[in-house]
């Protein structure tokens, strides 16, 4: 018996629709639950004041700043390094044993659980290099952790730029570097930005590796060598040690809302780049 192709088409479409709705629905439910549980304890003063009594009372200002510092530093370290590697692999070298080895290394790094990065960061940065539990140790550890993501997403984005655009740029008297900066990177920007967003998400959401390397001090880090706490770590400790579930959910709410805000911001920046280069 032959099934009506229109019928199968419709079936598949509905099924895929359903999956998409399910994914979005799941996100909405998670945000909704956190919102309900967290909103009563969340206020502007909660975000702007210091915690008291281990976080049982007061706000989460140092944790917010700790999160911002850690994420910003790791992105500042990892983006030039990762993007540079991706540019080297795609534009400046031919496929060879060396590139195979680099790619294999990147793939392997991507598959390692974050706790291993934490352990490495602890042994190497905290102990061996004597940086102690500090923002710097944490940021360097996060840098290594997110590097594979940035390299892989950037490489894919750069590879997707049509070869013809490079040819045209060269034919107009551009050097390889000018072509890379003026033509390839703008066209690849949306993909590269996606990788950076994913990486921010990973750094902001990480707990174990951060506790190992940045510690969990509740004070506001005043220098790179100070310990500090991110919102995710704060949430983890509040919940895990039963200090205050209310404050934990309020922290989670701030965390989730800021991640959403960063994503929306990135989306708009991306659209402006696309508008300029299309």
């Amino acid at each position: 018996m032959r099934v009506n192709p229109r019928f199968t088409d419709a079936l598949v479409r509905h099924f895929l629709n359903l999956q998409a709705y399910f994914t979005v629905g799941l996100l909405v439910v998670i945000v909704f639950i956190i919102f309900i549980k967290g909103i009563s304890n969340c206020s502007l003063s909660f975000m702007l004041t210091y915690p008291e009594d281990m976080g049982r009372h007061g706000g989460i200002f140092p944790a917010i700043m700790g999160t911002v510092f850690l994420a910003a530093l790791s992105i500042v370290f990892a983006t030039p390094l990762g993007l540079g590697t991706a540019i080297y692999l795609t534009e400046y070298t031919r496929e060879s044993r060396l590139t195979t080895i680099i790619r294999f290394g990147v793939e392997s790094l991507a598959g390692i659980p974050s706790i291993i990065y934490g352990l490495f960061g602890f042994i190497f940065f905290v102990i061996k290099l004597g940086m102690g539990w500090s923002l710097l140790s944490g940021a360097l550890t996060m840098t290594i952790m997110i590097l594979p993501t940035i390299i892989r997403t950037s490489e894919e984005a750069i590879k997707a730029v049509p070869r013809n655009l490079r040819i045209v740029s060269h034919s107009l008297g551009a050097t390889k570097w000018e072509t890379t900066v003026k033509v390839v990177l703008p066209s690849a920007a949306p993909g590269i930005l996606t990788g950076i967003m994913l990486s921010i998400g990973r750094a902001v959401g990480e707990t174990a590796a951060v506790i190992f390397t940045m510690g969990s001090s509740l004070r506001l880090p005043a220098s790179l060598m100070d310990s500090g706490r991110t919102m995710a770590v704060h949430f983890y400790i509040l919940a895990r040690e039963g200090i205050s579930m209310e404050k934990a959910y309020a922290t989670a709410l701030v965390l989730v809302v800021s991640i959403l805000a960063i994503n929306i911001l990135a989306y708009y920046t991306m659209n402006r780049v696309i508008a300029k280069y299309s």
């Binding site: 655009l165 040819i167 740029s169 034919s171 008297g173 300029k276 299309s278």
Partner: protein, 251 residues
């Protein structure tokens, strides 16, 4: 005759495939030279030597000589980036960069360090006028170049090349995907331009060669079969093969 480009026993191999076989050719200054011949006869290969875009291909072996104004351009010490500013190229498919009309044309001049708005404005206007496109786009220079029609995009590519203020313009089958009106406009532009430039026009359309070119070269399987003034080639070819090709017997 004032020679601008000269090839001497120019031979090019891709692996074992000989794309050009000992080509001797003098391209005359301030004229349009047409390259014709069936697909695979080596026309594009010769073009890509003159602008050194061949550097992007793997496994190429080149023998013989190629010079512009008597200066060798195949050597390893040649300033390739500078060469490409003297030799502009328009490709078979229109390839606008993903940015505005204005920025497409300003791309080359900016690379040369011209950044003043008024200078760029002048260059953009002048180039678009020469490419017979100005009247169609002058009120929307900051619209994306991708929004233009195929024929307009190809003239934009010509304008972008002109903005380099090159000495030589290479056009590799620039009209192959265009309608007759756009084709006519390109030919009109080229006819004006030959006063100031040396132009090579590759075309698989012999009628276009006859219409637009002062000199015509017929290539067949990597060999330059015949080269002469267009009139002579089309009225009284020396070689039978050329005659057959022009009459559409093969190709």
């Amino acid at each position: 005759m004032n020679v601008k480009i000269r090839t001497e026993k120019l031979t090019v191999r891709f692996g074992n495939n000989e794309a050009l076989k000992g080509v001797d050719l003098d391209v005359c200054k301030n004229s349009i030279t047409g390259f014709m011949g069936p697909a695979g006869s080596g026309k594009s290969t010769l073009i890509s030597l003159i602008n050194r875009m061949i550097d992007f291909e793997d496994g190429v072996r080149i023998e013989g000589g190629l010079s512009i104004d008597g200066e060798d351009i195949l050597g390893t010490s040649v300033d390739v980036v500078g060469l490409r500013r003297r030799v502009g190229t328009v490709f078979a498919v229109p390839l606008p960069l993903p940015r505005s009309i204005f920025e497409n044309i300003a791309y080359g001049p900016r690379l040369k360090g011209i950044n003043k708005k008024s200078d760029l404005d002048d260059i953009v206007e002048e180039s678009l006028k020469k490419a017979v496109l100005w009247s169609e786009v002058c009120d929307r220079l900051h619209v994306s170049a991708l929004k233009l029609s195929g024929g307009q995009q190809q003239r934009l590519c010509l304008a972008r090349t002109l903005a380099l203020r090159p000495e030589i313009i290479l056009l590799d089958e620039p009209c192959s995907g265009l309608d007759p009106i756009s084709t006519a406009k390109i030919e009109e532009a080229l006819n004006e331009l030959k006063k100031d430039y040396t132009i090579i026009l590759v075309s698989n359309n012999t009628k276009q060669i006859a219409r637009a070119c002062d000199f015509a070269a017929f290539f067949y399987m990597g060999t330059l079969v015949e080269f002469d003034q267009t009139e002579k080639i089309f009225t009284n070819p020396r070689v039978k093969q050329t005659e057959d090709y022009i009459q559409g017997k093969f190709g």
